[in-house]
Amino acid sequence: MFAATTSTSTFTNEPVLELRRAAVRARLADALATVDAVLPIRVPAWIGVDTREGDELLSTDPGEPERVVARAACAGAEEVAAAVHSAERGAEAWSAVPASERAAVLIGAAAWMRERRLELAALEVRECAKPWPEADADVCEAIDFLEYYARGAVALEAGRTLAQAPGERNELSYAPRGVAAVISPWNFPIAIPCGMSAAALATGNAVVLKPAEQSPACALRIVQALRAAGAPPSAIALLPGNGEAGAALVRHPKVHTIAFTGSLPVGLEIIRAAADTPTGQRHLKRVVAELGGKNCIIVDADADLDEAVPAIVSSAFLYAGQKCSAASRVLVHEAIADALLRRVAGAARTLVVGQAEDLATDVPPVIERAAQARVNRYAELAARDGVIVAGHGQVPDRGWFCPPTVAAELPAGSAVLEEEIFGPLLAIERVRDVEDACEIVGAQPFGLTGGLFARNPATVKYVRARSPVGNLYVNRGITGAMVGRQPFGGNRLSGNGTKAGGPDYLLQFVEPRVVTENTMRHGLVV
């Protein structure tokens, strides 16, 4: 169904489904039925060859909360310890496997996913209410990470060239760090955990994966893919669980690397905990952190609103704004602010709020009841502090729906303008000019994504130079980074600057080692 890639070929992105074709759309219903027939999925704690099933965690369909998607075990402290213990031995064996063989496993896992693309996307539709196009893109991204890091690890194994002087040989190589704890979110339920795990495995580390409690079934499929492709059971363990399991994992002295994607408070906690060196720990832990954002799109007076409006609306509202890259503030030049506000509000009113399985849906429900309450709280705050220009619409009453909301005239300092909301709420602010907008962006603690709509090349140059964000998008939407094309990750409090899907990412999972050998014997260079 989908063309397989061979390990020797150059990397290309897995093409997303061409859903504009009726014949492609027609295949989705079957995939959904196939998945529905196996629900609920049992997700065990899976350590080495041992599995323990459990009912402690339930994941439910956010659009139909009575539908149980997964029944998962909830890993306790003992299982965390067992998983790390197993991974410690696993890391030893796996690190001895040549990079090309490790790469073959990753590419095999990509093939496994490719064969099941529609069912995997359907599972995301159910477990995370991710609409089809985005669910499909997530599965493609997971495949991309596997393929991209596989190739990257093979290249990395060759080391890097160093300066050489007569009578001396200098070699730089990269060794795996050991056990990697992967703690992942639910919003890209296959791509992100798969990407972080793939990077660790490709470079010879063993992985203990602790996925978000909202998406254990999606995580199970990743581990199944890797194991089916030949990853040794001790090289990847699955620990479904809640925050306590994650915290225990982070504090464990035998964990070397922690790859985390999630919120700022949890990220800071992890970084603090990882700084500890309890007795018995003989290394410094490294944390790879992808945290929150408060992403701004700047719109200059010369912007093409026909392009800017749809891009702003999709950046803010697709997947109900539940992407770390999503737009949450628009800073618009006062000369065109009225027109932009009117058109963005009008466009937001046309958005279809509905179930993720419906291809007409623009805005699905948010992930859970608590998220709905949080978004509603911010919407109330926005109504109190400013003016709601779109967003009083009716939403379905079953499921965790929030109306797409556009707020304006918020006073500086309003929490709506400063805190990450992670929902379908967009604030529009007038600025005097682009410089003013850059000041506002520059004063923020976050630095994840940003956008600019402007047609003067000089303006683009100016904003590029001043923008602190990890990913700046010019004259387009600010979500949808592609592996190999838009390496993704934030600066400042948005993350420690690593770029997933980029050429430097694997360096986070290895230790560089330099060997210098004297090649002189009795005055002769040999």
């Binding site: 504009r20 759309r25 093409d304 009008g346 046309t350 047609r455 003067n456």
Partner: protein, 469 residues
């Protein structure tokens, strides 16, 4: 049903002019293509009026010769209506010229010296005037009302028109409503105005009967903000709410409504919408309606199957007009497919597109009178081919409509009218802001090395221009 065509064959054509008998072997058709092509080329007005020359000749030469300059110039044209002052305009121009890897070419270097505010204002004013002038070659007026005198003069010279209302993209419901209201208004004002025009038999009758004078081209993407490539029914349903009243209005007025085809992202919605509406009982006998088939699409033969199947299953009076074009979104389709890793839906070799255009021409002409046929092209070869095939089928010249775009096809339009062919010119109406996207698309398309107009303007000999693709 072919009886009707045969009937027109026997009776003198509406204009009563000479129609040669043309054989149907490929040699005979090729000979006729050359004969017609040469005859039309002869009737072209003097080269000084060529559309390429209408633009600033030196800038256009530069644009065609250097891709970077072309990009800079068109990016500039594109932003002109969004500039707030002459000073702002000049700053943009300087910004684009700064981007050029080798610095601005000598003819444009003068622009860069405009370092003073007064200098920039003067430069900005000159540039704005240039762009405005250029826009007026392509856009006939700001409103249907102001366009009417232009359309009347065309009619007087034997040229029919179709009015296209330019506008900003529709992203909200009120914008869709406003566009629908403008279309309804255009239908009414054109019907009222054209009623007083003198008779032009060539333009008013073909083998299938009378032809409407008032003719409006409509874009579905402007009729709804809900076009979603992945969910065509959504946009289809919403656009139908606005298109149905327009069809009712057109039927009452005896006007023609043509629904343009846009990019592949909306194609299914557009075709689905039109076929569904026209199948409804109230529209079985009118208004006269048309759709567009794009020959650059690899699957256009199957699209035509679908259209013809529908047309013969739901026979209508008057028959639907199928406008055959190559397609205006070539770069977009190629880039979008490339960005997503999809198979490219359009031909990538120009000659393949042109050959397909000719194959579709033959099929369409053979499908009459279930459909009416309009061949829309500025390519003398494509047009002469259609005329030759039409003649070889025994039909009258008047059973084939030829269409051109205002500003690009002016010379061909004049030549066709001079030789007594039935020609219709697509006339965009709207203000400069709304028109800029249209203008830039046309300019880009026609400075492209693949374009027939470009080849013609660069002096490629007629024989080569008329050679089979």
């Amino acid at each position: 049903m072919t009886a009707r065509i045969v009937a027109t064959h026997r009776t003198p054509s509406a204009s009563g002019r000479y129609r040669p008998a043309v054989g149907s072997t490929s040699e005979q058709i090729e000979a006729e293509v050359h004969r017609v092509g040469a005859e039309l080329a002869d009737a072209f007005p003097s080269p000084a009026r060529h559309p390429m020359k209408a633009l600033d000749a030196r800038a256009m030469e530069l644009a065609a010769a250097d891709l970077e300059i072309r990009a800079a110039l068109f990016r500039f044209v594109d932003v002109v209506p969004a500039c707030r002052s002459m000073d702002d305009l000049a700053r943009h121009l300087a910004g684009f010229l700064d981007e050029l890897p080798d610095g601005p070419p000598p003819v444009l270097a003068a622009i860069k010296v405009a370092d003073t505010r007064a200098g920039r204002a003067a430069l900005g004013a000159a540039a704005a005037a240039g762009v405005k002038h250029m826009a007026h070659r392509f856009i006939v007026g700001e409103t249907p009302g102001t366009a009417v005198p232009v359309l009347r003069r065309l009619w007087a010279r034997g040229i029919a028109s179709s009015v296209d209302l330019l506008g900003e993209a529709t992203v909200t419901e009120p914008e869709a409503d406003a566009y629908a209201a403008r279309c309804a208004d255009a239908l009414r004002s054109l019907s009222a105005a054209t009623a007083r025009w003198p008779e032009r038999p060539t333009l008013e009758r073909d083998g299938s009967g009378g032809l409407a004078r008032a003719n409006v081209s409509v874009k579905v993407s402007a009729l709804t903000p809900l076009l979603r490539p992945d969910a065509p029914e959504l946009g289809e349903r919403d656009a139908a709410r606005r298109l149905a009243p327009l069809l009712r209005e057109a039927k009452a007025l005896g006007a023609h409504v043509h629904i343009d085809t846009e990019s592949l992202d909306s194609r299914e919605a557009v075709l689905g919408l039109v076929l569904a509406l026209l199948t409804q009982e109230e529209f079985r006998d009118g208004p006269s309606t048309g759709i567009v088939l794009q020959a650059y699409m690899r699957d256009s033969p199957e699209q035509l199957d679908q259209i013809l199947e529908w047309a013969s299953a739901h026979e209508r009076t008057p028959p639907p007009v199928i406008r055959l074009v190559k397609g205006a979104y070539w770069d977009h389709e190629v880039a979008e497919a490339g960005q997503h890793g999809w198979p490219v839906p359009v031909f990538e070799v120009k000659a393949e597109c042109d050959r397909n255009f000719e194959a579709l021409t033959r099929r369409l002409l053979a499908a009459r009178p279930t459909v009416r046929v309009a061949i829309a092209s500025h390519n003398l070869r494509s047009v002469a081919h259609a005329i030759a095939v039409n003649r070889s089928s025994g039909a009258d010249d008047g059973d084939l409509e030829l269409q051109v775009l205002r500003g690009l096809g002016d010379d061909l339009q004049d030549a066709l009218a001079a030789r007594g062919f039935r020609v219709r010119t697509y006339c965009p109406v709207g203000d400069l802001v709304a028109g800029m996207a249209y203008l830039v698309r046309r300019l880009l398309e026609n400075t492209s090395n693949e374009s027939f107009l470009h080849a013609q303007a660069s002096g490629v000999p007629l024989d080569e221009l008329l050679a089979p693709p």
